[in-house]
């Protein structure tokens, strides 16, 4: 399931941040590598919430700095 979640998350990241899938892997930082600003991260979180039907509390958003953080967070929440 994790691989499927990862590919769905990467798809959302590509759409939201207007980046190519080939530039996205779990090591990438949203802000440092993928050009996101704080507003883009809010929008990304909203898109993830909608896609996976979870609510991500604001104080947990701060922990989601890389693609890998987002994948493991969502996987855990879905588990």
């Amino acid at each position: 399931m994790s691989a499927e979640v990862e590919s769905q998350i990467i798809e959302i990241i590509c759409e939201q941040l207007d980046v190519e899938a080939s530039d996205v892997d779990t090591s990438k930082s949203f802000m440092d590598d993928l050009g996101a600003d704080s507003l883009a991260i809010v929008e990304l979180v909203l898109a993830l919430e909608e896609k996976f039907d979870v609510k991500i509390p604001d104080d947990e958003v701060d922990g989601l700095q890389t693609v890998g953080h987002a994948v493991s967070y969502i996987t855990q929440r879905l588990g």
Binding site: D18, L39, A40, E43, L46, E50
Partner: protein, 415 residues
């Protein structure tokens, strides 16, 4: 001390007649109407179902799609036109521009991001405040982000804000930008107006005020300034900006100067929220201010791009022109309303019409007032009816008047 002269060195235009100045000018010269049925939303039950929409605009020609979500349409138009204007000024290359701290932006709008406001309000009610409102909502809708986004895309670090004065926004922005350069606060300004209000609330609001034409079965004939059977303005959208530079610095860099901005007048009627003062008293004072600022006699003006909205106010503007220009208004002065073709671009009108005046001076051709076959008896000037014409004009004046009783007049000289 002599006043610093102001050069117009570039223009950027997006209108119902085309996606560039060249396309728009081509439409004006053909006497073509850019008005058609509204496609942007379902107009069922609306009194007015026609407008001048910008057709075929692809924002990704100018910037990547991630920025599209961050900007209401009025900002997208402004950023696109800023690229066009810098290109037309020969300044696409950043290295060719003046010191960025000496380059500013005054681009305003009458209403701001009403399309995004409406859509976001709908999604707020549907999805609630947490998921229904984008974090980009505020920067997408506020008026000064037109100027702000332009500064970001081009790295322009000089004065940056938006004037807003309803339908005279574009003209005031251009005039105030000239003043900024004259004062020495900048060497280059991108200035004008932008607007995108063809939305249920935008059309509904002007319908409620009984301001719009309801000639829905004849879109191309609906905007008919100075005609006896005119029945209201036709909403347009788009953007018109120009690059203004100090004459000295423009010359020094070898710029191709399109025209000179020589006069600017700004004042108020202090009469009524929407109706002009009787006999256009405020407009008369405004045109006189602009002529005095230009240091010319009324008889030296060869062309006026009228506010001419296709409303009752056309009669008032005609009286005002007669009051200022006297016998010259009867003979030798050409007046046209290009709103007959591109519709009323509201906050962008003064910007696009200023650019049109400059092009008219440059190429020696006057755009017509179309749909003018049976003039209002009280509208008896030379309105360049229906067909563009050649004219050797040295000075052109552009009028813009707005709700709130605000007025702006600009005077351009052939370069």
């Amino acid at each position: 001390m002599t006043r610093r002269r102001i050069a117009v060195t570039g223009t950027g235009v997006m209108s119902p007649l085309g996606l560039t100045m060249n396309e728009t000018w081509g439409g004006l010269m053909e006497g073509r109407s850019g008005i058609g049925p509204i496609t942007r939303f379902d107009t069922t039950d609306f009194g007015t179902t026609i407008a001048g929409e910008v057709r075929g605009f692809d924002p990704t020609v100018y910037f990547s799609k991630k920025y599209v979500r961050q900007m209401d349409l009025f900002i997208q138009y402004a950023v696109a036109c800023s690229f066009q204007a810098l290109e037309s000024a020969g300044l696409s290359d950043e290295a060719s521009r003046p010191d960025p701290e000496r380059c500013g932006v005054f681009v305003g709008a009458g209403l701001g991001g009403i399309i995004t406001i409406e859509k976001t309000h709908d999604s707020l009610r549907e999805k609630g405040p947490r998921r229904g409102v984008s974090p980009y909502f505020v920067p997408a809708i506020i008026v000064n982000l037109a100027a702000g986004q332009i500064s970001l895309f081009h790295g322009l670090k000089g004065p940056n804000f938006s004037h807003t004065s309803a339908c005279s926004t574009g003209a005031h922005s251009v005039g105030e930008a000239a003043r900024t350069i004259e004062r020495g606060d900048a060497d280059l300004m991108i200035a004008g107006g932008t607007e995108a209000t063809i939305s249920p609330l935008g059309v509904g609001g002007f319908n409620a005020a009984r301001a719009l034409s309801t000639r829905n079965d004849d879109p191309a004939g609906a905007s008919r300034p100075f005609s006896k059977d005119r029945d209201g303005f036709v909403m347009g959208e788009g953007c018109g900006v120009m690059v203004l530079e100090g004459w000295d610095t423009a010359k020094a860099r070898g710029a191709n100067i399109i025209a000179e901005l020589v006069g600017y007048g700004a004042n108020a009627d202090a009469h009524h929220i929407t109706a002009p003062s009787p006999n256009g008293e405020g407009a008369q004072r405004c045109m006189k201010l602009a002529l005095k600022d230009a240091g010319i006699e009324p008889s030296q003006v060869g062309y006026i791009n009228a506010h001419g909205t296709s409303t009752l106010a056309d009669t008032i503007e005609t009286r005002a022109i007669k009051g200022v220009f006297g016998a010259h208004a009867e003979s030798g002065l050409a007046v046209s309303s290009t709103k007959s073709m591109h519709g009323h671009l509201l906050g962008a009108a003064g910007g696009i019409e200023a650019a049109i005046c400059c092009e008219a001076l440059r190429v020696g051709k006057l755009p017509p007032t179309i749909n003018l076959h049976d003039p209002d008896p009280e509208c008896d000037l030379d309105y360049v009816a229906n067909t563009a014409r050649d004219a050797d004009v040295e000075y052109a004046l552009s009028n813009s008047f707005g709700f709130g009783g605000t007025n702006a007049s600009l005077v351009f000289r052939r370069a």
